[in-house]
Protein backbone atom coordinates (compact mmCIF):
# COMPACT_ATOMS: atom_id res chain seq x y z
CA UNK A 1 0.00 0.00 0.00
CA UNK A 2 1.20 3.43 -0.82
CA UNK A 3 0.14 6.90 0.22
CA UNK A 4 0.47 9.31 -2.69
CA UNK A 5 0.56 12.96 -1.68
CA UNK A 6 0.36 15.59 -4.40
CA UNK A 7 0.67 19.35 -4.05
CA UNK A 8 -1.02 20.96 -7.05
CA UNK A 9 -2.38 24.23 -8.35
CA UNK A 10 -5.86 24.81 -6.90
CA UNK A 11 -7.55 25.29 -10.27
CA UNK A 12 -6.29 21.86 -11.40
CA UNK A 13 -8.17 20.02 -8.64
CA UNK A 14 -11.23 19.12 -10.71
CA UNK A 15 -9.12 17.80 -13.59
CA UNK A 16 -7.08 15.64 -11.24
CA UNK A 17 -10.13 14.30 -9.46
CA UNK A 18 -11.82 13.31 -12.72
CA UNK A 19 -8.70 11.67 -14.08
CA UNK A 20 -8.24 9.66 -10.88
CA UNK A 21 -11.87 8.53 -10.93
CA UNK A 22 -11.42 7.40 -14.52
CA UNK A 23 -8.63 5.01 -13.54
CA UNK A 24 -10.66 3.58 -10.68
CA UNK A 25 -9.44 5.46 -7.63
CA UNK A 26 -12.21 5.20 -5.01
CA UNK A 27 -11.49 8.20 -2.81
CA UNK A 28 -9.13 11.05 -2.09
CA UNK A 29 -8.60 13.53 0.72
CA UNK A 30 -8.16 17.20 -0.19
CA UNK A 31 -6.79 20.10 1.90
CA UNK A 32 -6.24 23.75 1.10
CA UNK A 33 -2.66 24.54 2.03
CA UNK A 34 -0.08 27.28 1.62
CA UNK A 35 3.59 26.99 0.96
CA UNK A 36 6.54 28.10 -1.06
CA UNK A 37 8.70 26.45 -3.68
CA UNK A 38 10.53 27.75 -6.69
CA UNK A 39 7.52 29.73 -7.88
CA UNK A 40 7.93 33.24 -6.56
CA UNK A 41 5.21 34.98 -4.51
CA UNK A 42 3.90 38.46 -5.23
CA UNK A 43 3.89 41.82 -3.51
CA UNK A 44 0.85 43.59 -2.10
CA UNK A 45 0.69 47.31 -1.42
CA UNK A 46 -1.47 48.91 1.27
CA UNK A 47 -1.22 52.70 1.48
CA UNK A 48 2.46 52.51 0.66
CA UNK A 49 3.24 49.56 2.96
CA UNK A 50 4.62 46.81 0.76
CA UNK A 51 4.19 43.19 1.79
CA UNK A 52 5.85 40.28 0.01
CA UNK A 53 3.51 37.33 -0.02
CA UNK A 54 5.78 34.25 0.00
CA UNK A 55 3.23 31.58 0.73
CA UNK A 56 1.00 30.74 -2.16
CA UNK A 57 -2.25 28.83 -1.93
CA UNK A 58 -2.05 25.22 -3.12
CA UNK A 59 -4.20 22.12 -2.86
CA UNK A 60 -2.89 18.98 -1.23
CA UNK A 61 -4.34 15.66 -2.40
CA UNK A 62 -3.81 12.44 -0.47
CA UNK A 63 -4.57 9.14 -2.18
CA UNK A 64 -4.25 5.69 -0.61
CA UNK A 65 -3.63 3.11 -3.33
CA UNK A 66 -2.62 -0.50 -3.77
CA UNK A 67 0.88 -1.26 -5.01
CA UNK A 68 -0.58 -2.46 -8.29
CA UNK A 69 -1.87 0.91 -9.45
CA UNK A 70 0.54 3.31 -7.80
CA UNK A 71 2.53 4.01 -10.97
CA UNK A 72 -0.65 4.63 -12.92
CA UNK A 73 -1.86 7.04 -10.23
CA UNK A 74 1.40 8.95 -10.29
CA UNK A 75 1.31 9.22 -14.05
CA UNK A 76 -2.33 10.29 -14.06
CA UNK A 77 -1.77 13.05 -11.52
CA UNK A 78 1.34 14.22 -13.36
CA UNK A 79 -0.55 14.48 -16.62
CA UNK A 80 -3.74 16.05 -15.30
CA UNK A 81 -2.08 18.57 -13.00
CA UNK A 82 0.56 19.80 -15.41
CA UNK A 83 0.46 23.24 -17.00
CA UNK A 84 4.15 23.35 -17.89
CA UNK A 85 4.63 26.55 -15.93
CA UNK A 86 6.58 26.92 -12.73
CA UNK A 87 4.51 26.11 -9.62
CA UNK A 88 2.79 22.97 -10.89
CA UNK A 89 3.67 21.19 -7.64
CA UNK A 90 5.13 17.88 -6.49
CA UNK A 91 4.17 14.30 -5.80
CA UNK A 92 5.49 12.28 -2.84
CA UNK A 93 4.98 8.57 -2.30
CA UNK A 94 5.43 6.67 0.96
CA UNK A 95 4.78 3.09 1.97
CA UNK A 96 1.95 2.53 4.41
CA UNK A 97 2.03 -0.15 7.12
CA UNK A 98 -1.61 -0.58 7.77
CA UNK A 99 -5.05 0.65 6.72
CA UNK A 100 -8.39 0.00 8.43
CA UNK A 101 -11.92 0.64 7.23
CA UNK A 102 -13.63 1.81 10.37
CA UNK A 103 -17.16 0.69 9.47
CA UNK A 104 -16.33 -2.96 8.77
CA UNK A 105 -13.01 -3.47 10.46
CA UNK A 106 -11.40 -4.67 7.18
CA UNK A 107 -7.63 -4.21 7.08
CA UNK A 108 -4.79 -4.01 4.57
CA UNK A 109 -5.48 -3.67 0.84
CA UNK A 110 -9.12 -4.63 1.47
CA UNK A 111 -9.52 -1.35 3.28
CA UNK A 112 -7.99 0.82 0.59
Amino acid sequence: MKLVTAIIKPFKLDDVREALSDIGVQGITVSEVKGFGRQKGHTELYRGAEYVVDFLPKVKIEVMVTDAIVDNVIETITKSARTGKIGDGKIFVVSVEQAVRIRTGETGEEAV
Partner: protein, 476 residues
Protein backbone atom coordinates in the same frame (compact mmCIF):
# COMPACT_ATOMS: atom_id res chain seq x y z
CA UNK B 1 -7.39 94.15 5.40
CA UNK B 2 -6.01 95.68 8.54
CA UNK B 3 -9.21 95.06 10.41
CA UNK B 4 -8.02 91.54 10.85
CA UNK B 5 -5.66 92.54 13.59
CA UNK B 6 -7.43 92.07 16.83
CA UNK B 7 -6.41 92.35 20.42
CA UNK B 8 -5.01 89.06 21.58
CA UNK B 9 -7.67 88.74 24.20
CA UNK B 10 -9.94 89.53 21.44
CA UNK B 11 -13.42 88.38 21.28
CA UNK B 12 -14.44 91.57 19.61
CA UNK B 13 -13.53 93.17 16.37
CA UNK B 14 -12.50 96.77 16.47
CA UNK B 15 -14.76 97.87 13.68
CA UNK B 16 -17.47 95.52 12.74
CA UNK B 17 -18.77 97.76 10.00
CA UNK B 18 -15.49 97.70 8.18
CA UNK B 19 -14.71 94.18 9.00
CA UNK B 20 -17.81 92.31 8.50
CA UNK B 21 -18.74 89.20 10.22
CA UNK B 22 -18.31 85.95 8.87
CA UNK B 23 -20.58 83.25 8.70
CA UNK B 24 -18.93 80.23 10.04
CA UNK B 25 -20.16 76.82 10.13
CA UNK B 26 -22.51 74.91 12.12
CA UNK B 27 -23.04 77.92 14.17
CA UNK B 28 -25.20 78.95 16.85
CA UNK B 29 -28.31 78.92 18.42
CA UNK B 30 -30.18 80.91 20.70
CA UNK B 31 -33.16 80.35 22.59
CA UNK B 32 -35.14 83.06 21.05
CA UNK B 33 -33.20 85.94 22.33
CA UNK B 34 -35.51 88.52 23.80
CA UNK B 35 -33.56 91.04 21.79
CA UNK B 36 -35.08 89.89 18.55
CA UNK B 37 -35.98 92.94 16.63
CA UNK B 38 -39.26 91.82 15.25
CA UNK B 39 -42.56 91.38 16.93
CA UNK B 40 -43.84 87.92 16.10
CA UNK B 41 -41.75 84.95 17.12
CA UNK B 42 -40.45 83.24 13.97
CA UNK B 43 -41.91 79.88 13.04
CA UNK B 44 -39.37 77.34 11.77
CA UNK B 45 -39.80 76.34 8.15
CA UNK B 46 -40.88 72.73 7.84
CA UNK B 47 -38.55 72.20 4.87
CA UNK B 48 -35.53 73.40 6.85
CA UNK B 49 -36.56 71.35 9.86
CA UNK B 50 -37.06 68.19 7.79
CA UNK B 51 -33.74 68.62 6.04
CA UNK B 52 -31.92 69.10 9.33
CA UNK B 53 -33.43 65.95 10.80
CA UNK B 54 -32.47 63.98 7.68
CA UNK B 55 -28.96 65.48 7.89
CA UNK B 56 -28.69 64.41 11.49
CA UNK B 57 -29.59 60.84 10.58
CA UNK B 58 -27.04 60.94 7.75
CA UNK B 59 -24.28 62.00 10.14
CA UNK B 60 -25.24 59.12 12.45
CA UNK B 61 -24.94 56.82 9.42
CA UNK B 62 -21.40 58.12 8.84
CA UNK B 63 -20.35 56.83 12.23
CA UNK B 64 -22.48 53.73 12.67
CA UNK B 65 -21.87 51.80 10.59
CA UNK B 66 -19.87 53.87 8.04
CA UNK B 67 -16.72 54.77 9.95
CA UNK B 68 -16.89 51.54 11.98
CA UNK B 69 -16.81 49.41 8.81
CA UNK B 70 -14.19 51.60 7.14
CA UNK B 71 -11.90 51.12 10.13
CA UNK B 72 -12.98 47.54 10.87
CA UNK B 73 -12.04 46.31 7.41
CA UNK B 74 -8.56 47.81 7.69
CA UNK B 75 -7.45 45.96 10.82
CA UNK B 76 -6.47 42.30 11.10
CA UNK B 77 -9.33 39.83 11.59
CA UNK B 78 -8.44 39.27 15.26
CA UNK B 79 -9.16 42.94 16.04
CA UNK B 80 -12.16 43.80 13.88
CA UNK B 81 -14.75 43.57 16.66
CA UNK B 82 -12.64 45.73 18.98
CA UNK B 83 -12.68 48.56 16.44
CA UNK B 84 -16.40 48.18 15.71
CA UNK B 85 -17.14 48.18 19.45
CA UNK B 86 -14.90 51.19 20.12
CA UNK B 87 -16.73 53.26 17.51
CA UNK B 88 -20.15 52.02 18.62
CA UNK B 89 -19.56 52.71 22.30
CA UNK B 90 -17.78 56.03 21.87
CA UNK B 91 -20.72 57.21 19.77
CA UNK B 92 -23.15 56.29 22.55
CA UNK B 93 -20.98 57.67 25.36
CA UNK B 94 -20.54 61.06 23.70
CA UNK B 95 -24.23 61.27 22.82
CA UNK B 96 -25.15 60.96 26.49
CA UNK B 97 -22.42 63.37 27.64
CA UNK B 98 -23.56 65.81 24.94
CA UNK B 99 -27.02 66.06 26.43
CA UNK B 100 -25.76 66.14 30.02
CA UNK B 101 -23.29 69.01 29.59
CA UNK B 102 -21.72 69.01 26.11
CA UNK B 103 -24.30 71.07 24.27
CA UNK B 104 -24.36 73.63 27.04
CA UNK B 105 -20.57 74.05 27.21
CA UNK B 106 -20.30 74.37 23.44
CA UNK B 107 -23.36 76.37 22.50
CA UNK B 108 -24.24 78.84 25.23
CA UNK B 109 -22.77 82.25 25.92
CA UNK B 110 -19.80 82.03 28.26
CA UNK B 111 -16.33 83.31 27.49
CA UNK B 112 -14.37 83.10 24.24
CA UNK B 113 -13.32 79.49 24.92
CA UNK B 114 -16.12 77.77 26.82
CA UNK B 115 -19.85 78.21 27.04
CA UNK B 116 -21.72 78.03 30.33
CA UNK B 117 -23.51 75.24 32.20
CA UNK B 118 -26.86 77.03 31.85
CA UNK B 119 -28.29 74.34 29.60
CA UNK B 120 -26.94 71.30 31.47
CA UNK B 121 -29.33 68.38 31.08
CA UNK B 122 -30.89 70.50 28.31
CA UNK B 123 -32.27 72.85 30.94
CA UNK B 124 -34.53 75.38 29.24
CA UNK B 125 -34.62 73.60 25.92
CA UNK B 126 -38.09 72.54 24.82
CA UNK B 127 -40.10 71.91 21.66
CA UNK B 128 -40.73 75.65 21.34
CA UNK B 129 -37.17 76.99 21.68
CA UNK B 130 -35.27 77.85 18.52
CA UNK B 131 -31.75 77.92 17.13
CA UNK B 132 -30.58 80.57 14.67
CA UNK B 133 -29.43 79.84 11.14
CA UNK B 134 -27.44 82.10 8.78
CA UNK B 135 -30.42 84.06 7.54
CA UNK B 136 -32.10 86.80 9.50
CA UNK B 137 -35.44 85.72 10.88
CA UNK B 138 -34.91 82.05 9.94
CA UNK B 139 -34.76 79.53 12.78
CA UNK B 140 -34.86 75.80 13.32
CA UNK B 141 -36.14 73.98 16.41
CA UNK B 142 -33.43 73.90 19.08
CA UNK B 143 -33.96 70.19 19.70
CA UNK B 144 -33.02 69.51 16.08
CA UNK B 145 -29.91 71.66 16.48
CA UNK B 146 -28.98 69.83 19.69
CA UNK B 147 -29.23 66.46 17.92
CA UNK B 148 -27.42 67.64 14.77
CA UNK B 149 -24.49 69.08 16.70
CA UNK B 150 -24.49 66.04 18.98
CA UNK B 151 -23.72 63.79 16.01
CA UNK B 152 -20.67 65.95 15.20
CA UNK B 153 -19.42 65.66 18.76
CA UNK B 154 -19.97 61.89 18.60
CA UNK B 155 -18.14 61.17 15.34
CA UNK B 156 -15.04 63.22 16.20
CA UNK B 157 -13.63 61.01 18.99
CA UNK B 158 -14.61 57.95 16.94
CA UNK B 159 -12.18 59.16 14.27
CA UNK B 160 -9.35 59.21 16.80
CA UNK B 161 -9.50 55.51 17.71
CA UNK B 162 -8.17 54.48 14.29
CA UNK B 163 -4.73 55.88 15.09
CA UNK B 164 -4.04 53.46 17.94
CA UNK B 165 -6.21 50.56 16.76
CA UNK B 166 -5.14 47.02 17.61
CA UNK B 167 -3.33 47.78 20.88
CA UNK B 168 -5.13 50.27 23.16
CA UNK B 169 -7.18 49.15 26.16
CA UNK B 170 -10.92 49.63 25.73
CA UNK B 171 -11.21 51.19 29.19
CA UNK B 172 -8.40 53.65 28.40
CA UNK B 173 -10.19 54.73 25.23
CA UNK B 174 -13.48 55.43 27.02
CA UNK B 175 -11.72 57.38 29.75
CA UNK B 176 -9.71 59.39 27.23
CA UNK B 177 -12.75 60.22 25.12
CA UNK B 178 -14.71 61.50 28.11
CA UNK B 179 -12.05 64.00 29.14
CA UNK B 180 -10.97 64.87 25.61
CA UNK B 181 -14.56 65.82 24.81
CA UNK B 182 -14.62 68.27 27.71
CA UNK B 183 -11.14 69.72 27.29
CA UNK B 184 -10.67 69.68 23.50
CA UNK B 185 -13.84 69.14 21.48
CA UNK B 186 -16.24 71.39 23.39
CA UNK B 187 -13.91 74.41 23.61
CA UNK B 188 -12.84 74.17 19.96
CA UNK B 189 -16.47 73.84 18.86
CA UNK B 190 -17.35 76.84 21.01
CA UNK B 191 -14.44 78.88 19.68
CA UNK B 192 -15.24 78.17 16.04
CA UNK B 193 -19.02 77.94 15.87
CA UNK B 194 -20.67 79.80 18.70
CA UNK B 195 -22.21 83.17 17.96
CA UNK B 196 -25.42 85.03 18.68
CA UNK B 197 -26.89 84.50 15.22
CA UNK B 198 -27.54 87.02 12.44
CA UNK B 199 -30.52 88.66 14.09
CA UNK B 200 -28.25 89.98 16.84
CA UNK B 201 -26.49 92.15 14.23
CA UNK B 202 -29.00 94.95 13.99
CA UNK B 203 -26.54 97.83 13.81
CA UNK B 204 -22.87 98.62 14.41
CA UNK B 205 -23.20 98.82 18.18
CA UNK B 206 -25.21 95.64 18.46
CA UNK B 207 -22.62 93.96 16.24
CA UNK B 208 -19.86 94.79 18.72
CA UNK B 209 -21.89 93.33 21.57
CA UNK B 210 -22.85 90.23 19.61
CA UNK B 211 -19.26 89.65 18.58
CA UNK B 212 -18.12 89.87 22.18
CA UNK B 213 -20.31 86.84 22.89
CA UNK B 214 -18.92 84.76 20.03
CA UNK B 215 -16.22 82.11 20.24
CA UNK B 216 -12.58 83.15 19.90
CA UNK B 217 -11.98 81.85 16.38
CA UNK B 218 -15.38 82.94 15.13
CA UNK B 219 -14.61 86.46 16.29
CA UNK B 220 -11.20 86.23 14.68
CA UNK B 221 -12.96 85.58 11.39
CA UNK B 222 -11.92 81.97 10.84
CA UNK B 223 -13.93 80.12 8.20
CA UNK B 224 -14.86 76.53 8.95
CA UNK B 225 -18.12 75.60 7.35
CA UNK B 226 -18.59 72.03 8.55
CA UNK B 227 -15.72 71.16 10.85
CA UNK B 228 -12.24 71.08 9.31
CA UNK B 229 -10.70 72.38 12.52
CA UNK B 230 -13.32 71.27 15.03
CA UNK B 231 -13.63 67.73 13.74
CA UNK B 232 -10.75 66.67 11.52
CA UNK B 233 -7.65 68.57 12.67
CA UNK B 234 -8.84 68.18 16.24
CA UNK B 235 -9.21 64.40 15.92
CA UNK B 236 -6.19 63.94 13.66
CA UNK B 237 -3.66 65.51 16.01
CA UNK B 238 -5.16 63.68 19.00
CA UNK B 239 -4.70 60.44 17.07
CA UNK B 240 -1.08 61.23 16.27
CA UNK B 241 -0.28 62.02 19.89
CA UNK B 242 -2.08 58.85 20.98
CA UNK B 243 -0.25 56.53 18.59
CA UNK B 244 3.10 58.08 19.57
CA UNK B 245 2.44 57.62 23.30
CA UNK B 246 0.99 54.11 23.11
CA UNK B 247 3.81 52.97 20.81
CA UNK B 248 3.97 50.87 17.68
CA UNK B 249 2.11 47.62 17.28
CA UNK B 250 4.13 44.46 17.93
CA UNK B 251 5.78 43.45 14.69
CA UNK B 252 5.14 46.80 12.99
CA UNK B 253 7.43 47.08 9.99
CA UNK B 254 8.54 43.45 10.11
CA UNK B 255 5.37 41.40 9.80
CA UNK B 256 2.47 41.92 7.42
CA UNK B 257 -0.46 43.94 8.75
CA UNK B 258 -2.62 43.94 5.69
CA UNK B 259 -6.30 44.94 5.96
CA UNK B 260 -8.38 41.82 6.56
CA UNK B 261 -11.45 42.81 4.55
CA UNK B 262 -11.25 45.47 1.85
CA UNK B 263 -14.89 45.11 0.74
CA UNK B 264 -15.85 46.30 4.26
CA UNK B 265 -13.52 49.27 3.78
CA UNK B 266 -15.21 50.13 0.50
CA UNK B 267 -18.70 49.85 2.01
CA UNK B 268 -17.61 51.96 4.98
CA UNK B 269 -16.06 54.66 2.80
CA UNK B 270 -19.19 54.79 0.65
CA UNK B 271 -21.45 55.15 3.69
CA UNK B 272 -19.15 57.92 4.93
CA UNK B 273 -19.48 59.65 1.58
CA UNK B 274 -23.28 59.40 1.54
CA UNK B 275 -23.52 60.47 5.18
CA UNK B 276 -21.20 63.40 4.56
CA UNK B 277 -23.98 65.15 2.63
CA UNK B 278 -25.73 65.47 5.98
CA UNK B 279 -22.51 66.65 7.58
CA UNK B 280 -21.63 69.31 5.00
CA UNK B 281 -24.97 70.31 3.51
CA UNK B 282 -26.66 70.10 6.90
CA UNK B 283 -24.11 72.57 8.25
CA UNK B 284 -25.87 75.19 6.16
CA UNK B 285 -28.78 74.77 8.62
CA UNK B 286 -31.24 75.69 5.87
CA UNK B 287 -32.43 73.90 2.74
CA UNK B 288 -31.71 76.65 0.19
CA UNK B 289 -29.54 77.53 -2.80
CA UNK B 290 -26.29 77.61 -0.85
CA UNK B 291 -27.14 74.13 0.43
CA UNK B 292 -27.24 73.03 -3.21
CA UNK B 293 -23.82 74.57 -3.78
CA UNK B 294 -22.42 72.72 -0.76
CA UNK B 295 -23.91 69.52 -2.17
CA UNK B 296 -22.17 69.95 -5.53
CA UNK B 297 -18.87 70.89 -3.86
CA UNK B 298 -19.00 67.82 -1.65
CA UNK B 299 -19.62 65.34 -4.45
CA UNK B 300 -17.11 67.01 -6.78
CA UNK B 301 -14.18 67.35 -4.39
CA UNK B 302 -14.60 63.74 -3.29
CA UNK B 303 -14.70 62.33 -6.80
CA UNK B 304 -11.68 64.44 -7.78
CA UNK B 305 -9.64 63.34 -4.76
CA UNK B 306 -10.46 59.68 -5.47
CA UNK B 307 -9.26 60.03 -9.06
CA UNK B 308 -6.15 61.94 -7.98
CA UNK B 309 -5.15 59.37 -5.35
CA UNK B 310 -5.84 56.38 -7.60
CA UNK B 311 -4.09 57.71 -10.70
CA UNK B 312 -1.10 58.85 -8.67
CA UNK B 313 -0.86 55.42 -7.07
CA UNK B 314 -1.18 53.76 -10.47
CA UNK B 315 1.56 55.94 -11.86
CA UNK B 316 3.96 55.73 -8.93
CA UNK B 317 3.30 52.24 -7.61
CA UNK B 318 2.02 50.34 -10.59
CA UNK B 319 -1.53 49.48 -9.48
CA UNK B 320 -4.59 51.50 -8.48
CA UNK B 321 -5.82 49.86 -5.26
CA UNK B 322 -9.32 49.76 -3.77
CA UNK B 323 -7.88 50.83 -0.44
CA UNK B 324 -6.34 53.81 -2.23
CA UNK B 325 -9.64 54.69 -3.90
CA UNK B 326 -11.51 54.56 -0.59
CA UNK B 327 -8.77 56.57 1.14
CA UNK B 328 -8.81 59.19 -1.62
CA UNK B 329 -12.56 59.62 -1.21
CA UNK B 330 -12.22 60.21 2.53
CA UNK B 331 -9.31 62.61 1.96
CA UNK B 332 -11.46 64.63 -0.44
CA UNK B 333 -14.39 64.67 1.98
CA UNK B 334 -12.16 65.86 4.80
CA UNK B 335 -10.55 68.64 2.77
CA UNK B 336 -13.80 70.03 1.38
CA UNK B 337 -15.44 70.04 4.84
CA UNK B 338 -14.25 73.49 6.00
CA UNK B 339 -14.57 74.91 2.49
CA UNK B 340 -17.85 73.47 1.25
CA UNK B 341 -20.01 76.53 1.90
CA UNK B 342 -17.37 79.10 0.99
CA UNK B 343 -15.94 78.00 -2.33
CA UNK B 344 -17.36 77.53 -5.80
CA UNK B 345 -17.33 74.18 -7.64
CA UNK B 346 -13.99 74.92 -9.35
CA UNK B 347 -12.49 75.68 -5.96
CA UNK B 348 -13.84 72.32 -4.80
CA UNK B 349 -12.19 70.65 -7.80
CA UNK B 350 -8.82 72.19 -6.92
CA UNK B 351 -9.17 71.27 -3.25
CA UNK B 352 -10.07 67.69 -4.12
CA UNK B 353 -7.09 67.35 -6.45
CA UNK B 354 -4.68 68.72 -3.85
CA UNK B 355 -6.17 66.57 -1.07
CA UNK B 356 -5.87 63.31 -3.02
CA UNK B 357 -2.20 63.91 -3.79
CA UNK B 358 -1.13 65.38 -0.45
CA UNK B 359 -2.82 62.74 1.70
CA UNK B 360 -1.36 59.95 -0.46
CA UNK B 361 2.04 61.49 0.18
CA UNK B 362 1.34 61.75 3.89
CA UNK B 363 0.33 58.11 4.38
CA UNK B 364 2.81 56.48 2.04
CA UNK B 365 5.87 58.66 2.47
CA UNK B 366 5.64 60.98 5.48
CA UNK B 367 4.46 58.24 7.85
CA UNK B 368 7.28 55.87 6.94
CA UNK B 369 9.85 58.63 6.97
CA UNK B 370 8.87 59.69 10.49
CA UNK B 371 8.29 56.13 11.62
CA UNK B 372 5.12 56.49 13.73
CA UNK B 373 2.51 53.74 13.67
CA UNK B 374 -0.78 55.51 12.96
CA UNK B 375 -2.64 52.25 12.29
CA UNK B 376 -5.42 53.59 10.09
CA UNK B 377 -3.88 56.93 9.04
CA UNK B 378 -6.02 59.25 11.10
CA UNK B 379 -3.28 61.87 11.04
CA UNK B 380 -2.34 61.39 7.38
CA UNK B 381 -5.89 61.68 6.13
CA UNK B 382 -7.88 63.70 8.68
CA UNK B 383 -5.26 66.07 10.06
CA UNK B 384 -3.27 66.65 6.86
CA UNK B 385 -6.45 66.81 4.74
CA UNK B 386 -8.08 69.08 7.32
CA UNK B 387 -5.16 71.50 7.38
CA UNK B 388 -5.04 71.62 3.60
CA UNK B 389 -8.78 72.26 3.43
CA UNK B 390 -8.68 74.95 6.11
CA UNK B 391 -5.89 76.88 4.36
CA UNK B 392 -7.36 76.51 0.85
CA UNK B 393 -10.72 77.71 2.18
CA UNK B 394 -9.04 81.07 2.69
CA UNK B 395 -7.86 81.01 -0.93
CA UNK B 396 -10.93 79.77 -2.78
CA UNK B 397 -13.52 81.63 -0.69
CA UNK B 398 -12.34 84.70 -2.62
CA UNK B 399 -15.13 85.81 -4.97
CA UNK B 400 -12.43 86.45 -7.59
CA UNK B 401 -11.82 82.69 -7.60
CA UNK B 402 -15.49 81.79 -7.71
CA UNK B 403 -15.91 81.78 -3.94
CA UNK B 404 -18.82 83.02 -1.89
CA UNK B 405 -16.93 85.71 0.03
CA UNK B 406 -18.59 86.85 3.18
CA UNK B 407 -21.28 89.26 4.11
CA UNK B 408 -21.57 92.06 6.58
CA UNK B 409 -24.06 90.64 9.09
CA UNK B 410 -25.57 94.06 9.70
CA UNK B 411 -26.34 94.98 6.10
CA UNK B 412 -26.25 91.41 4.72
CA UNK B 413 -24.23 92.75 1.78
CA UNK B 414 -21.05 91.27 0.37
CA UNK B 415 -17.93 92.64 2.08
CA UNK B 416 -14.48 93.16 0.51
CA UNK B 417 -12.30 90.03 0.60
CA UNK B 418 -8.57 90.01 1.39
CA UNK B 419 -7.21 86.60 0.51
CA UNK B 420 -3.79 86.91 2.15
CA UNK B 421 -5.29 88.15 5.41
CA UNK B 422 -7.88 85.39 5.38
CA UNK B 423 -5.30 82.66 4.78
CA UNK B 424 -3.36 84.03 7.78
CA UNK B 425 -6.50 83.80 9.93
CA UNK B 426 -7.05 80.27 8.69
CA UNK B 427 -3.46 79.38 9.58
CA UNK B 428 -3.96 80.81 13.06
CA UNK B 429 -7.05 78.72 13.64
CA UNK B 430 -5.20 75.61 12.40
CA UNK B 431 -2.25 76.32 14.70
CA UNK B 432 -4.48 76.97 17.70
CA UNK B 433 -6.38 73.72 17.13
CA UNK B 434 -3.18 71.71 16.68
CA UNK B 435 -1.61 73.07 19.83
CA UNK B 436 -4.76 72.98 21.96
CA UNK B 437 -5.85 69.46 21.04
CA UNK B 438 -2.25 68.21 20.91
CA UNK B 439 -1.44 69.41 24.42
CA UNK B 440 -4.75 68.24 25.91
CA UNK B 441 -4.29 64.81 24.30
CA UNK B 442 -0.69 64.51 25.49
CA UNK B 443 -1.58 65.28 29.08
CA UNK B 444 -4.61 62.98 29.09
CA UNK B 445 -2.81 60.03 27.51
CA UNK B 446 0.08 60.44 29.95
CA UNK B 447 -2.23 60.54 32.96
CA UNK B 448 -4.16 57.49 31.78
CA UNK B 449 -0.92 55.65 31.07
CA UNK B 450 0.29 56.28 34.62
CA UNK B 451 -2.97 55.32 36.29
CA UNK B 452 -4.86 52.79 34.19
CA UNK B 453 -2.27 51.92 31.54
CA UNK B 454 -2.87 52.63 27.87
CA UNK B 455 -1.84 49.39 26.33
CA UNK B 456 -2.90 45.76 26.55
CA UNK B 457 -0.27 43.14 27.44
CA UNK B 458 1.96 41.64 24.75
CA UNK B 459 0.17 38.31 24.97
CA UNK B 460 -3.21 40.00 24.59
CA UNK B 461 -2.01 41.96 21.61
CA UNK B 462 -0.74 38.81 19.91
CA UNK B 463 -3.98 37.01 20.64
CA UNK B 464 -6.06 39.90 19.37
CA UNK B 465 -8.30 42.38 21.16
CA UNK B 466 -11.53 40.66 20.10
CA UNK B 467 -11.15 37.67 22.36
CA UNK B 468 -9.14 39.37 25.11
CA UNK B 469 -11.05 42.63 25.52
CA UNK B 470 -14.49 41.60 24.30
CA UNK B 471 -14.66 37.82 24.74
CA UNK B 472 -15.84 37.05 21.24
CA UNK B 473 -14.57 36.36 17.75
CA UNK B 474 -15.74 37.82 14.45
CA UNK B 475 -15.28 34.88 12.16
CA UNK B 476 -15.31 31.09 12.48
Amino acid sequence: MSEHTFPSTGTTRSDPMKSPFLRTAGALLLALAPALAFGDAPVPDKGDTSWMMISTVLVILMTIPGLALFYGGMVRSKNVLSVLMQVFMVFCLVTVLWVVFGYSLAFTTGNAFFGSLDKMFLNGVNAGTLAATFSKGVYIPEYVYVAFQGTFAAITPCLIVGAFAERMKFSAILLFVTFWLVLAYLPIAHMVWFWDGPDAYTDAEAAVVATSHAGYLFALGALDFAGGTVVHINAGIAGLVGCLLVGKRLGYGSSAMAPHNLPLVMIGASLLWVGWFGFNVGSNLEANGLAGQVFVNTILATATATLAWSFAEWLLRGTPTMLGGASGAVAGLVAITPACGWVGPMGALAIGLAAGLLCLWAVSWLKHKLGYDDSLDVFGVHCVGGILGALLTGVFADPKLGGVGFVDWVTMELAPYDMAAQVMIQAKSVALTLVWSGVVSFVLFKLIDITLGLRVSEDSERQGLDTVEHGERAYG
